[in-house]
């Protein structure tokens, strides 16, 4: 009797499964939880941003977002994982500009356009940070010091995006220095506070709550209202450094149906307008924007070229 009951149960389950399979096309997106792949470890900035996104998204859609960390190989582990999944919109990848830098620098074996760069959401301006108590504080100080002792000035920053800003700054100002990579930004900032290094390259969030550090210049079209004393590169007459940003956003696998992309576009539009989302990001000096696929894909293609000129020298 028992065996028959089990067989009957199995058959029923199987039928339900087949039924679900058969009606898949008819069901509106999304009909199951969406996984958000974070290529960094839990507890970091990207992870927290992705979790905040999942929390705010719940206000606007009944869909469930589940954040999953797939760290490793500078993001390639997460990237390859997303590519191994079907292009059905149920695997969303949290992305940052670091991914592009690592792609070029570490020669990732995937096409940068294997992802559809769906939404560019946060623009985090790059800034040059110095020790507020030292002799080298402003951009003029940095340039004068670097010219007085060519190749001796020490710049510290995490490798990748901030590293390239370093090289660009040197190029534009005709100076040179020593770039020392630090994978943990905190230790690099400690080196500037301790005056073993002169300059750190980072973002406005890095100087928050650290009176020993100051921003010497920021990459933006015009001054930030939060930081009225920080000049832009443009004002200082340094060209070509107006759009250096550490962006964050989301991507889907290439080939995801247009209808699903449209669903995400609408969701991201709503989230971008959400006051809680704006406050969460703007308090740290980040700009909340929403560039859709077309513009985002173009930005990524440009950046791949840009990184190549600096890493392949």
């Amino acid at each position: 009797m028992k065996k028959i009951a089990i067989v009957a149960m199995l058959l029923t389950t199987l039928c339900i499964g087949l039924y679900a399979e058969g009606t898949k096309e008819a069901v509106a997106f999304p009909s199951k939880p969406i996984r958000v792949i974070v290529y960094a470890a839990a507890g970091g900035q990207l992870d927290i941003t992705a979790r905040k996104f999942a929390e705010i998204a719940a206000k606007y859609t009944p869909a469930t977002f589940v954040v999953e960390n797939k760290p490793g190989a500078g993001g390639l582990v997460g990237w390859e994982y997303v590519l191994s999944q079907p292009e059905d919109g149920y695997t969303l990848m949290a992305v940052t500009k670091t991914l592009i830098a690592n792609h070029v620098k570490d020669e990732f074996d995937v096409d940068p356009m294997s992802l559809n760069w769906t939404a560019f959401l946060i623009n985090d301006a790059e800034t040059i940070i110095t020790n507020a108590n030292s002799k080298i504080r402003t951009i003029a100080d940095i340039v004068a010091d670097a010219k007085a002792r060519p190749g001796q000035q020490i710049w510290v920053a995490p490798p990748g995006v901030d590293e390239v800003v370093t090289y660009k700054f040197w190029d534009r100002n005709g100076i040179s220095g020593k770039y020392v990579p630090y994978d943990a930004g905190g230790q690099a900032m400690a080196a500037v506070i301790g005056q073993q290094a002169q300059v750190y390259v980072g973002n406005p969030v890095d100087v928050r709550g650290k009176p020993d550090l100051m921003m010497a210049a920021i990459s933006a079209e015009k001054r930030f209202t939060q930081f009225p004393d920080v000049p832009t590169f443009k004002e200082l007459g340094i060209k070509g450094l107006d759009a250096e940003s550490f962006w964050r956003g989301f991507a889907l696998k290439k080939g995801t149906p247009a209808s699903i992309i449209a669903w995400y576009d609408e969701l991201f539009t709503r989230i971008t307008a959400d006051p809680e989302w704006r406050q969460f990001n703007e308090k740290d000096g980040m700009e909340v924007v929403h560039y859709k696929s077309e513009k985002f894909n173009a930005i990524v293609a440009d950046e791949v070229k840009d990184f190549k000129t600096y890493f392949k020298k």
């Binding site: 470890a41 839990a42 507890g43 970091g44 900035q45 992870d47 927290i48 979790r51 929390e55 999953e68 960390n69 797939k70 760290p71 490793g72 190989a73 500078g74 390639l76 582990v77 390859e80 620098k105 570490d106 020669e107 074996d109 020490i154 490798p159 020593k178 770039y179 020392v180 990579p181 630090y182 994978d183 943990a184 905190g186 230790q187 900032m189 400690a190 080196a191 506070i193 301790g194 073993q196 290094a197 969030v205 928050r208 709550g209 650290k210 009176p211 020993d212 308090k283 740290d284």
Partner: protein, 500 residues
């Protein structure tokens, strides 16, 4: 005087139902996280982080800090009972903790690990409260050359850890250093020994390696020996002679205090870590002991040294976080996230803008240590039961936990396979008498040494190691520390020859 009134305010802030419950929950979770191989303190804090989003900032923060504190103790439980350190910083605890268990004195090991953890934790926090600012000023003056010298100093402990077996310990440390060379070069991004395998671009993760080398290799060894009986724990369960008496705890006060202060100081330097603190404190205890030959054979002082140091490093790691806004360890990096979520910015301004929060946090850490004493004390009987379980039952459970733990690090099956390979490798090396701990030491310190050596050279050339007084002093101490055991052994040999 100001500090006293602020501390009183801090205690006032946490002596309420919600913060106390949060501390208790944090301590409980922390002990479990620490004891579970695969969950490191930083992962424990990160896992609980989302739960604090909706909590009051102080309540959330005290819970996470309690997890961080207690997980450093939790790692010692499995180190003592089943020779499987739950965290890299508990590796040195197993040196004497497990031999105690094998001698039927698990209670002694567990008792000392708990009490020295609590004392270490307390000392670390008291130093944090009293001297945070001046210590932070010293911490930022540390040049990469000094970090390299510190890592090298850590590696010299191999010479004394190995004892008579020093040649094999040396080879084991070299294996650890060689494993470290796998992965993308941290300075120049060259791919080293990666063979196009994406999963090893970052090298081998320390956690699966730790679990494989200790837990799995032990399982394989037991399997080979066909051991089926649990270890006799004597009458420890009834808390008679086999738990340390107050007098015994007191008799180890010198080692415990010395290691606590030492652990706090190491903890202050961003990136140095609690594992190096416990190894160095263990080594120091052994060298300053009147009976160094009893270390590694079940000397409770070994347990005290390692545990006091790794718990004390928690207070140390909070120094740069609170005074400079710079995280000193992986777990404090997650605490930065926890603060930012609540729009609080870690750094010196926090003392003036939110003194209630900062001193509440200090008070909570003291309370968490006291809770830990009770939870750990009550749990003691439970841990002893684990030892009594027949290996036929315990070993498959260890294998399951080892695989789950390795998977949990990065949600990656590759790490499970890596754990298995490390287990087989560890078992093979153990059969030939090679110790496991130096491999872990090599892996932990190798990266610290390599990265900082190269940073120092970029910054100041090769001469920087000798022109900076602190670096030169540390290097000379390292050479002396390395040479001393051999010199002593040589002298004893001569004496023995003369005696004949």
């Amino acid at each position: 005087m100001e500090t006293v009134s602020y501390m009183l305010e801090g205690f006032g802030n946490i002596l309420a139902v919600a913060p106390l419950l949060a501390i208790a929950a944090g301590v409980f979770m922390g002990i479990l996280v620490g004891a579970m191989p695969g969950l490191s303190p930083s992962m424990g804090v990160a896992l609980l982080l989302p739960f604090t989003f909706r909590l009051d900032p102080l309540v959330g923060l005290v819970m996470l800090t309690a997890v961080y504190l207690a997980s450093n103790y939790g790692g010692s439980i499995t180190a003592v009972t089943i020779n499987t350190p739950g965290t890299p910083s508990a590796v040195a605890t197993a040196f004497d903790g497990y031999p105690l268990t094998q001698q039927g004195k698990a209670g002694i090991g567990l008792g000392h690990s708990l009490v020295s953890s609590v004392v270490g934790g307390m000392v670390g926090i008291i130093i944090l409260i009293l001297f945070a600012r001046p210590l932070a000023k010293v911490a930022v003056k540390m040049h990469p050359a000094e970090y390299f010298a510190l890592a090298l100093f850590g590696l010299t402990t191999v010479a004394s850890l190995g004892g008579k077996n020093w040649a094999k310990a040396f080879v084991a440390a070299l294996i650890g250093l060689l494993i470290n060379t796998v992965g993308i070069d941290p300075i120049s991004s060259v791919k080293r020994f990666t063979f196009g395998v994406t999963n090893i671009f970052d090298g081998f993760d320390i956690i699966p390696a730790l679990i494989g080398l200790f837990a799995l290799s032990e399982v394989f060894t037991k399997l080979e020996a066909r051991e089926t009986k649990g270890i006799d724990v004597g009458d420890a369960e009834t808390r008679k002679d086999t738990w340390p008496t107050l007098k015994e705890y007191w008799s180890h006060r010198r080692v415990t205090l010395q290691s606590s202060v030492f652990g706090t100081l190491i903890g202050i330097f961003p990136g140095a870590g609690s594992a190096i603190a416990s190894f160095l404190a263990y080594d120091l205890a052994k060298r300053t002991s009147k009976h160094p030959d009893t270390f590694g054979k079940g000397n409770p002082e070994g347990v005290c040294a390692s545990e006091a140091a790794n718990s004390a490093s928690v207070g140390g790691a909070m120094v740069p976080l609170l005074t400079l806004g710079i995280p000193g360890s992986a777990a404090t990096a997650v605490l930065v996230g926890a603060l930012m979520i609540h729009d609080l910015v870690p750094g010196p301004m926090l003392f003036t803008s939110n003194p209630g929060l900062v001193y509440g946090l200090f008070a909570s850490m003291l309370v968490a240590n006291i809770f830990m004493l009770f939870v750990g004390g009550l749990g003691g009987k439970l841990w002893l039961k684990v030892i009594k379980i027949s290996p036929a039952v315990l070993m498959p459970m260890i294998i399951a936990v080892a695989f789950i733990g390795s998977f949990a690090v990065k949600n990656s099956l590759f790490d499970v396979a890596a754990c298995f390979v490390f287990g087989v490798g560890g078992w093979a090396l153990k059969r030939k008498g090679y110790p496991m701990a130096p491999i872990v030491l090599g892996m932990v310190l190798g990266k610290l040494a390599e990265v900082n050596f190269r940073r120092a050279v970029i910054m100041g050339g090769y001469s920087v190691f000798f022109t900076r007084p602190a670096s030169l002093a540390l290097l000379l101490i390292s050479v002396a520390a390395f040479a001393l055991p051999f010199w002593q052994a040589g002298r004893e040999k001569k004496k023995a020859v003369k005696g004949e």
